[in-house]
């Protein structure tokens, strides 16, 4: 097992290097100049523009800038934001807990809904409710999250006035659970929607496969109650594939968060990313890319390991 982990980590290094290289060159070649993001080209003096360009180090050729950046990153220095002059890592770490909180809550919501619904659909296959859940799942997968988010704001904030339209909290002075829950419910629902729908389908098919197995028939023939058969024998085995989903949560967490956090003014890493992109804040874009790539690599590794731990049939050597 240890050997496997080490191998995976070693494989990740060239991968991260290539990601950084591609990202660096793409963002630097993309149209747009970071300088015009903090001075108005309609009022700035061109002489001042050159001074600022130099102070940001943007007067050097692109490959030199990449080498300098890489050298610093290897030493753990992600550089400083063009816009704010603050260390990139500090800016990311300040936001990361907010994104993780949102992701965990949305994951819980999606599990709480998808597992029971999936199980029910499998047991009562082809019932009216099963069809309804399937339709719901397809809608949930296809619905664009920005549109869904806006509709929720329109309904719950503007029309009904039940929930805040965005932000993470209204009470800044102390930790207020009710206040936090009121703020998190809409974004967590939007972020969890797509995965909820697909997990529902996955749970349904996993369950269907398991209840056809011989050991289920054995359990039934032993005279066990249907409840015990379903929940003790079938569900535990059907849950195995769901575990791998945890590995996929991380990339979805970062990408999904970009949209959700922007719509709901959630102060997380996704919003930092999109702001940095609009502002051409290269060091921040690079920092978030690298940190989230690392998270994806680690996430899929953790999922593989978890899978081996819970399923004795799988072994890594």
């Amino acid at each position: 097992m240890l050997k496997y982990v080490v191998k995976r980590i070693l494989q990740a290094i060239p991968l991260l290097f290539i990601i950084s290289l591609i990202t660096f060159f793409i963002i630097n070649l993309a149209p747009g100049d970071p300088i015009y993001m903090f001075i108005n080209p309609e009022t700035a003096n061109p002489v001042d523009v050159e001074v600022i360009r130099k102070s940001l180090g943007l007067d050097k050729p692109i490959y030199i800038r990449y080498i300098l950046w890489l050298k610093n990153v290897i030493q753990g220095d992600f550089g400083k934001s063009f816009q704010h002059g603050r260390p990139v890592l500090e800016m990311i770490l300040e936001r990361l807990p907010n994104t993780i909180t949102l992701a965990i809550v949305s994951t819980i919501i999606s599990f709480l809904v998808s597992i029971p619904v999936g199980v029910y659909s499998a047991i009562k296959r082809n019932s009216i409710l099963d069809y309804m859940f399937s339709t719901f799942a397809f809608i949930g997968i296809s619905i664009p999250s920005f549109w869904f988010g806006l509709m929720l704001i329109l309904l719950f904030s503007l029309k009904l006035g039940w929930l805040p339209s965005g932000g993470m909290r209204a009470n800044f002075e102390e930790f207020d659970l009710i206040d936090r829950l009121r703020h998190i419910i809409l974004p967590a629902l939007v972020l969890g929607m797509a995965s909820m729908a697909s997990q529902m389908r996955q749970m349904r098919s996993a369950m269907l496969e398991v209840i056809r197995q011989d050991y289920i028939r054995t359990a039934r023939s032993k005279g066990l109650s249907e409840r015990v058969v379903i929940f003790k024998h079938a569900l535990r085995n059907a849950l195995l594939p769901i575990i791998t989903i945890i590995g996929f949560i991380i990339p979805w967490l970062v990408s999904g968060a970009v949209v959700t956090e922007t719509i709901f003014s959630w102060p997380g890493i996704g919003r930092l990313y999109i702001h940095a992109t609009f502002m051409r804040d290269y060091p921040v874009i690079m920092g978030v890319t690298i940190i989230s790539s690392v998270m994806v690599v680690v996430g899929s590794m953790v999922a593989d390991i978890l899978y081996a731990l819970v399923d004795p049939r799988i072994k890594y050597n």
Binding site: D33, T43, P46, I104, S157, S165, M168, F175
Partner: protein
């Protein structure tokens, strides 16, 4: 099943632990309540809360409450003293400006503000390594002397009356905080002054003091009990930071925020909201066509005048700006003191346009496009990508000019490419752009032919008479004298038509009705009217 329960419990627990980590602040002595706090929905995180280096709107909006300048403006736009005891005295040769400071002005940390802070603030901004975007405004300052604690003497390289308004734009920063920081920049500890922590924990001397800045969430300011003028009425100001103007408007509509800036396109909609008062005010800002005067078509001023006559600006204001703009015929807004009402605008008149083109030798060809010596009367009109209003305008202009036999090819290009490859390089026929003028008379940057002075004269406009008028106006501090010169300037510019103006821009502001005593004035916006804002009990 038990395991699942355990996992879920564990997850829930983690959430609670994590969320309690996320920035819980200490309870404050005077609690912030809805009744003593005004919430301003902004659509961008500030960058640096340092008036010497920040140039983005979000930062300036915050620093406006925290810092003060030597001069300020009254509601008529006139310059009046702020931290200065009176308007400055100016020597006979116009090269020495002396300010007397008010006594007893304190920084938020209790230190007294003296002439040394003023001197330092200007030296700070003039230091090239600070790379301040405001540096060029003060380049005419030669030396600054402080004969005593309350006297500052600016010695100028040459007389420059445009400095006076600049004294009201630039806020003073505390020497005792920033001098050590500047040292760190000069000795290489900092690569950029942006690295200083005081950009995020500003110490000013304004009517509000900085309390906290939670990135991407909010900035909180609290009333300064030691302010040197009467105190503002509202205890706290909270800037609620949202990711976009659309989100900021939603927050104001729901009542979560009290005021927001509204773009032209949304003014009509916001006016229908029963919980809001929406104000619209004129800005000294216009959209305009810049002709490349080196281009063979545009070197003849009759062609430029013809284009001005051929544009139906009224229709553009109505259709494209949704009525939230006004027709522009001059770079001087009609509400500016320097505006010359006697200059006859080039009104919409297709016949006059055709006549001028005929006189210039451009005859209508078989395809309806005018031509002269085998050359067609056609040009490319460029603008920057991302400004929807301008993208619509270029197409509109294309259709308008077709009516008088001019063929326009619109081209929309991304900012950086547009500026560096075409506009600054002089490689264009004509461009459509926006410009923000100061609310004073000086427009050297737009029209002076010396590249060091006319930094926005990018179309090779050169008229020695104009240069002289601009220089002379800056050499005198006599407003009446300046007015005479600027009136003459406007006559010449209207005749030369090196650029053609389309419309003056306006701004919308929506306030929740619980905010009372709001005053919004053309060209100034809210100015420092927040001092008298009140919240309904």
């Amino acid at each position: 099943m038990k395991k699942i329960k355990q996992v879920i419990t564990l997850l829930l627990f983690t959430v609670i632990i994590l969320s309690s980590f996320v920035g819980v602040t200490k309870a404050k002595s005077e609690p912030m309540t809805k009744a003593n706090t005004i919430y301003y929905a902004t659509f961008s995180d500030p960058i640096d809360l340092n008036p010497a280096i920040s140039s983005d709107n979000a930062s300036s909006e915050v620093t406006g409450f925290l810092f003060r300048a030597l001069l300020k403006r009254d509601w008529s736009g006139k310059l009046i003293p702020d931290m200065a005891e009176a308007m400055p005295t100016i020597s006979n040769d116009n090269k020495t400006i002396t300010f007397k400071l008010r006594k007893g002005i304190k920084w938020h940390d209790g230190t007294e503000l003296t002439s040394a802070d003023i001197k330092f603030s200007y030296e700070f901004i003039l230091e090239p390594k600070v790379a301040s975007v405001r540096r060029s405004n003060f380049i005419n300052i030669d030396t600054i002397e402080t004969p005593d604690k309350y006297t500052v003497v600016f010695k100028l390289k040459e007389p420059d009356s445009a400095l006076l308004p600049n004294f009201s734009y630039y806020y003073i920063i505390p020497k005792h905080i920033w001098e050590p920081e500047l040292q760190k920049l000069l000795n290489g500890t900092y690569k950029s002054i942006k690295e200083s922590k005081y950009n995020r924990e500003p110490i000013g001397n304004g009517p509000y003091m900085f309390v906290e800045w939670k990135t991407a969430e909010r900035v909180v300011l609290k009333r300064n009990p030691n302010f040197y003028d009467p105190q503002p009425k509202i205890e706290y100001i909270v800037f609620t930071i949202t990711p976009s103007q659309a989100v900021a408007m939603v927050k104001t509509e729901t009542g979560e925020a009290d005021y927001v800036v509204v773009p032209e396109s949304d003014v009509a909609r916001m006016r229908t909201k029963s919980n809001l008062n929406t104000f619209v005010y004129d800005r000294a800002s216009f959209d305009y066509i810049v002709y490349n005067l080196k281009h063979p078509i545009f070197s003849d001023k009759r062609v430029r005048q013809a284009i001005a006559h051929a544009l139906n600006k009224e229709a553009m204001v109505k259709g494209i700006y949704k009525g939230v703009a006004s027709v522009a015929h001059s770079s001087y807004h009609p509400k500016l003191w320097a505006y010359n009402p006697n200059v006859k605008p080039l009104q919409y008149n297709l016949n006059r346009a055709k006549q001028l083109l005929d006189q210039a030798g451009w005859k209508v060809g078989k395809d309806g496009i005018r031509e002269k010596n085998g050359q067609k009367l056609q040009f490319v009109l460029m603008t920057n990508k991302g400004n929807i209003m301008r993208e619509k305008l270029v197409v509109y202009i294309q259709n308008q000019l077709r009516l008088v036999g001019i063929k326009v090819e619109p081209r929309i290009i991304e900012w950086n490419t547009f500026l560096n490859k075409y506009y600054y390089a002089g490689k264009y026929d004509a461009v459509l752009l926006g410009f923000i003028t100061s609310i004073d008379g000086d427009q050297t940057v737009l029209f002076h032919s010396d590249p060091a002075k006319g930094t926005f004269n990018r179309n090779f406009y050169k008229n020695p008479q104009v240069d002289k008028l601009l220089d002379d106006a800056r050499k005198t501090f006599d407003i009446n004298e300046q007015k005479k010169l600027y009136w003459k300037l406007q006559e010449i510019i209207a005749e030369d038509q090196p650029i053609t103006y389309i419309a003056y821009r306006k701004n919308g502001l929506s306030f929740n009705k619980r905010v009372k005593n709001v005053k919004v004035v053309d060209l100034l916006g809210t100015n420092d009217g927040y001092m008298s804002w009140e919240l309904q009990k």
